[in-house]
Symmetry: C2
């Protein structure tokens, strides 16, 4: 049995998280792994960490960071003032994929949304991530929406 | 020429906003227009209004509220620490649709995202909203993602 632990990310975790974001078909073209880590990552971490409506988390397996995701708890007027839990930037370390760690990570995140009183959990995935689509279908999510992006 | 104005919503605007959320094929089954307005709406408004990363806005035409949307400014580590502007709960008053007010509203919102330093604007729309898909395509958005929901 391995020991799996979920916790809020600290600033010391940022390089490991960015490395996972970059170790991905789409992420590798978007991230900057040069050292010291680009200032934008530190600034973004500080903003997330100081925001009570944000939770950047890591999953540890036997003391090593093997997964990450971010949850935004979004108040809104829709659905009688429902709070939505939005999951973004989900990654599992490349050498630990296929071991159902992603499933544990999402189940933990859904639990966090439940504890925070969310009525809906939402996320988007790129249309090209067909593995991810099967994954979220299997976990009971409904592919009900189209996600639009506009780069500024 | 009509006089169009965009501004941050106040608590006094909440009934007009909820009425627009409800006056919609999908929204009518989800909202509660009974008076006094359900407490959930007031609580959600207070949470949004006190959060510097949220902007609930209304569009006025000649002094009447004819549109609304909510923007969440979401810090994240992805894309070198990019901030994303997320648009939700977009509505134009039923009797003022077809007058390109929605276009003005989204263009204003994109401008707000730009001013706040966002690198990406994102939103999702239900797969059944085919008019909305044409609308966002026309405004330059790319339908690159699938949006998943899980009701808790």
């Amino acid at each position: 049995m391995t020991d799996i632990l979920f916790r809020r990310a600290t600033e010391a975790d940022v390089p490991a998280i960015v490395a996972m974001l970059a170790d991905d078909a789409l992420g590798k073209a978007r991230e900057d792994l040069s050292e010291p880590l680009a200032e934008g990552y530190r600034t973004a971490f500080a903003t997330i960490d100081s925001d009570p409506h944000q939770l950047l988390a890591v999953m540890e397996e036997d003391g090593r960071i093997v997964g990450t995701l971010q949850i935004s708890f979004l108040a809104g007027l829709s659905r009688k003032g429902a709070t939505r839990g939005q999951i973004e930037a989900v990654r599992v370390a490349a050498d630990r994929r296929g071991a159902r760690l992603g499933e544990k990570l999402i189940e933990w995140a859904v639990g966090q949304c439940h504890e925070r009183g969310c009525q809906v959990v939402q996320l988007t995935t790129d249309k090209s991530r067909t593995d991810a689509h099967r994954f979220y279908d299997r976990l009971g999510f409904t592919a009900s929406h189209i996600g639009y992006k506009l780069n500024l």
